[in-house]
């Protein structure tokens, strides 16, 4: 790893100012960035730690009834603090990586990274969450723009994520045991306005909504409702761990399981 200057501001505005510097980069839990830097795939000259920004840590409920999670909140804290308010989200957070990864990794880091096999993007898209940054609010539908690509501008940080709470929700992750990421994962959430289905790990374009399943599940929220649907294998990831056909099949199977588990 190349050396860098380490700074740890205490407020969002100081963090944003520090990120304005030449080749500065935000550091969340470092669970993705530090391994990337060890491989010299990233070599910032300044790392701006967000772990000291108190206003970006914690879970609360706002006046609209949404769960608001600070961008620097760890997966372990989300798992613990949404267990009764949003069990579907808590269950997802508790399946990320392993306990040590959950004790450091943050929701903001995960959403900024937008790994095509990461768990949180499916919860954010499947819940129709709002990604709040230091400058604006971005709807999840506009935020995810393909593998490792988001609507975030240079130096922009995720300060908070707001989740509307569904009537029922569940995340089913088919684990890729070597990486502990999702080989394919599906987040299903039922709202009064309809059902949302978000799929991670499967598409070459990163997380996506499976609209046919959403329509079918909005009229009947049962695993049977998706039984006769199929997802095209076109554009699905094919690698050592699974072919595009296999992943397309998993999307349907995991959607059915998520619906059953959400009941």
């Amino acid at each position: 790893m190349h050396n860098f200057e380490f700074v740890k501001p205490g407020t969002i505005s100081d963090a944003v100012a520090a990120l304005g510097g030449e080749e500065a980069q935000a550091l969340g839990g470092g669970q993705t960035l530090l391994p990337t830097m060890k491989q010299r795939l990233a070599a910032p000259t300044t790392l701006v730690s967000l772990s000291g920004v108190g206003e970006m840590v914690g879970v609360c409920t706002n006046d609209a009834g949404e769960i608001c999670i600070g961008g620097a909140t760890t997966h372990a804290q989300v798992q613990a603090e949404t267990a009764s308010s949003y069990p579907g989200l808590s269950g997802l957070a508790g399946q990320i990586g392993d306990p040590a990864v959950r004790n450091r990794g943050t929701i903001g880091g995960s959403l900024a990274n937008n790994d095509p096999a990461a768990c949180y993007p499916s919860a954010a898209l499947g819940s129709g969450a709002t990604i709040v940054t230091n400058t604006r609010e971005i709807a999840a539908d506009d935020y995810f723009q393909g593998m490792f690509t988001t609507a975030l501008d240079e130096g922009e940080i995720v300060t908070e994520v707001r989740f509307p709470v569904p009537m029922a929700a569940n995340y089913q992750k088919f684990v890729q045991p070597a990486s502990r990421f999702a080989l394919t994962g599906v987040f299903v959430a039922k709202y009064a306005s309809g059902v949302r289905v978000a799929v991670t790990g499967a598409s070459e374009n990163g997380v996506f909504r499976w609209s046919e399943a959403e329509a079918a599940l909005s009229s009947s929220f049962t695993a049977d409702a998706v039984k006769d649907l199929s997802v095209p294998a076109d554009g699905m990831i094919g690698d050592l761990h699974g072919t595009p056909d296999y992943r397309a099949h998993l999307v349907k199977v995991m959607t059915g399981r998520a619906v059953t588990a959400a009941q």
């Binding site: 790893m1 190349h2 050396n3 860098f4 200057e5 380490f6 740890k8 550091l27 470092g30 669970q31 530090l34 391994p35 830097m37 060890k38 790392l47 730690s49 772990s51 372990a76 990586g97 392993d98 306990p99 040590a100 990864v101 004790n103 450091r104 502990r180």
Partner: protein, 161 residues
């Protein structure tokens, strides 16, 4: 260089570190606490696990500078005050929870974190919690047994699958 101060196994320590110095390097190279192992250096194996403010973390994937002001505990801090093995360590010995011993510091630190959160875990909960700790020798059964025994539970029931 930045100077860092932290409590390690109950003692206050300070040192000068580069931005890129990992917590595990600070522990092993500067403090000479070589009980914390580096198995992979890529956040996969868990041999480097220590507790930072009571939580298990991979010391190969945390900067020393991030631990400034923290309370750190390593395997060297696990034995009882009189030098005898702690309940968890003794259970690893009694149940043959180690062979080469390379993964053991991380296993013991993870087990301690688990039993603090969940004093009477089920076998499935133990296995789930160990997901980030890789052992190439034991096949895990005896590690799971040791942890269940350390929690005061009967272990004869665990079948070797």
């Amino acid at each position: 260089m930045t100077s860092v101060t932290m409590t390690v196994n109950g003692k206050s320590v300070s040192g000068d570190v580069e931005g890129r110095t990992l917590l595990v390097q600070f522990l092993r190279d500067d403090l000479k606490l070589t009980g914390t192992h580096v198995g992979c250096d890529t956040s996969q194996c868990g041999a480097c696990q220590v507790h930072v403010d009571g939580k298990a973390v991979k010391a190969c994937t945390m900067l020393a500078a991030e631990a400034d002001g923290a309370d750190v505990k390593t395997i060297e801090g696990m034995a009882n005050a009189d030098g005898s093995l702690s309940v968890i360590q003794q259970a690893f010995q009694d149940h043959h929870g180690l062979q080469c011993g390379f993964c053991t510091p991380g296993m013991v630190m993870t087990a301690a974190a688990l039993l603090k959160e969940n004093p009477k875990p089920t076998e499935a909960e133990v296995r789930h919690y160990l997901e980030g700790n890789i052992c190439r020798c034991t096949g895990y059964h005896n590690i799971v047994k040791a942890i269940l025994a350390a929690s005061g539970q009967e272990v004869t029931q665990i079948a070797a699958e």
